[in-house]
């Protein structure tokens, strides 16, 4: 894959991916999140793939550059948040969700669903005697409005091409070519985005005060330490839609004037580390990360740091100390992290979910273009 050198290159690649996606007339999405992997979903993925191929069905694993008419897409998706019912297999276009799938069920899924177009009802979710074939009808999902996790569970979490096909990196494009730094900062401020790491601090205000710092270099740091018990939204976002987080961080880099980003992921999330590593490598390969992104002056590099089992490293100053290779000890503030953070330089630290909100804000938020598309993101759930 050659590097994308311009906006046009990116748009061309996106339309190739979109066309390939539209040619996947049927799709099987096997949940590849931590919970379902523990239930053996990766074996299910391999078996389904082998069985389809053995039947001579054209299988599309990665959105191909030479799209094949009428192929069956088979993908490892991110977590659906329904791990208890896992391993989960989602079937499109019908939107059916199969729960507690076992290796022995693969044959029936291929024969009945892919070949025959019928639902395997015994695998559908049941509640109070009612069968719910479609994922969106299940009471657990019916009331959900997904923003950050809109693609999580619905796209291949291991491929940048899937992310591009659903409109990924459009916000980056806009931030790079249609907006200046102040406009991005204002957009984030106006969206009322609040930090999701627990404190609820207005992200726009933090970004602006970091961008105002005289000293350079400045750093963009993402807090993926997720230490709160029972919480796994950051894990889902990192595992299931890693490019969204990366896109949000690159946009923060543009707005704040930084060319270096760090993601700190807790030790207990090896799968999130793998997915992020893969995603960063793909973004580097096609030139969405690195020097002179899309032929502009802007460069951005990203690094991953794995935690080593210290809850306190979720705190900002402990986290930056840990990235520096030291003991993760919080320090007294002020000075604040935006002034003296990583390597004692101005640093913008946000939570995973905070950054993952950014692409949507930049893409839909432009005031005036389409007021009905304008969405703000105040706290959509209680702040912990």
């Amino acid at each position: 894959m050659t590097k994308l050198m311009s906006r046009q290159d990116l748009q061309n690649l996106r339309s190739v991916c979109q066309r390939a996606l539209s040619l996947e007339t049927k799709k099987i999405l096997v949940c590849g999140g931590t919970g379902c992997v523990a239930g053996g979903s990766l074996d299910i993925y391999d078996k389904l793939k082998d069985m389809l191929q053995a039947r001579g069905i054209h299988v599309s694993v990665e959105l191909a550059h030479e799209p094949h008419e009428e192929s069956v897409g088979i993908k490892k998706s991110g977590c659906h948040g329904f791990c208890e019912m896992g391993p989960l297999v989602r079937v499109e276009p019908q939107g059916w969700l199969y729960t507690k799938v076992k290796l022995d069920d693969c044959e029936e899924i291929v024969e009945k669903t892919i070949v025959g177009g019928e639902c395997v009802e015994r695998l559908a979710y049941r509640q109070n005697g009612k069968i719910y074939r479609k994922q969106e009808d299940i009471p657990f999902y019916a009331k959900q409005h997904r923003v950050v996790l809109e693609h999580c569970g619905h796209i291949n979490a291991t491929s940048v091409y899937d992310y591009l096909a659903v409109g990924g990196y459009q916000a980056l494009e806009k931030a790079l070519f249609d907006m200046n730094q102040d406009q991005i900062l204002d957009e984030v401020s106006e969206s009322n985005l609040r930090g999701r790491g627990g404190g609820g601090f207005p992200a726009g205000r933090k970004w602006k005060s970091c961008a105002r710092q005289k000293e350079t270099p400045r750093y963009i740091v993402c807090n993926g330490d997720e230490g709160d018990p029972g919480a796994f939204m950051d894990r889902s976002a990192m595992e299931g839609d890693p490019h969204r987080l990366i896109e949000g961080m690159i946009i923060a880099g543009i707005a704040i004037g930084s060319s270096e980003g760090y993601i700190y992921v807790r030790a207990e999330y090896p799968l999130a580390v793998d997915r992020l590593r893969m995603a960063i490598a793909q973004a580097e390969e096609i030139g969405l990360l690195g020097d002179n992104i899309l032929g502009t002056e802007f460069s951005f590099h990203m690094h991953i740091n794995r935690g080593a089992g210290a809850f306190v490293c979720g705190e900002g100053s402990a986290l930056t100390a840990s990235i520096e290779g030291k003991r993760g000890m919080p320090r007294v503030k002020p000075p604040r992290t935006v002034e003296h953070g990583l390597f004692d330089k101005p640093t913008n630290l946000n939570n995973v979910e905070t950054y993952a909100n950014v692409p949507m804000i930049i893409e839909n938020g432009a005031a005036g273009t389409n007021p009905s598309a304008r969405r703000t993101v105040p706290a959509q759930r209680p702040l912990r």
Binding site: A38, G39, P229, A231, A267, N305, A308, R327
Partner: protein, 165 residues
């Protein structure tokens, strides 16, 4: 009697990282992954290679829970004792494992260096609570009986001469 310590694996690990203090944690993680613990011999060696004091390196190694200066077993079993797993009964599982492996008091590793049993905080798989990992592979919806069964399987694997997942 001085045992010759083979630094070749450490050298390979060092080659994968920039030689600076920044790499401290990543290097220690890789070393631990290789040996399952941090052998004392590596401290002066690594400290010199990345240009930090040996005391500082010990400081880092003892700060983070994941690092161990004691040898660990071939199978490292981590019982999740995060909130969800605790509420759904992680402790009886932990006790069963410790009892079957004869681990008493503060002991975490069996004398034959085959098994280490420890606790870990939330693995992010609470939907499958109680959860545990064996050398990184997650097992969900555990019970004491299922844990015993898993132990039997692991022991059988050891006998077959396997034992490295």
């Amino acid at each position: 009697m001085t045992r010759q310590f083979d630094f070749a694996p450490v050298d390979r690990i060092l080659d994968n990282h920039p030689r600076s203090e920044l790499s401290t944690i990543a290097i220690l993680q890789d070393i631990q992954e290789h040996y399952h613990y941090l052998p004392r011999e590596v401290f002066p060696y690594v400290a010199k290679a990345i240009g930090v004091g040996e005391a500082r390196l010990y400081g880092v190694a003892t700060f983070y829970e994941n690092f161990s200066l004691e040898p660990k077993g071939k199978y490292v079993i981590r019982c999740c004792d995060g909130t969800a797993c605790h509420v759904r009964g992680s402790i009886p599982i932990l006790e069963r494992l410790r009892q079957e492996l004869g681990l008493v008091g503060g002991k975490k590793t069996t004398d034959d260096l085959n098994f280490t049993v420890e606790t870990v905080s939330c693995l992010g798989a609470c939907g499958l609570a109680p959860a545990m990992t064996v050398n990184g592979t997650v097992y969900g919806a555990m019970t004491p009986d299922k844990a015993s069964e898993l132990l039997r399987e692991l022991k059988a694997e050891l006998e077959k001469g396997g034992g490295q997942a």
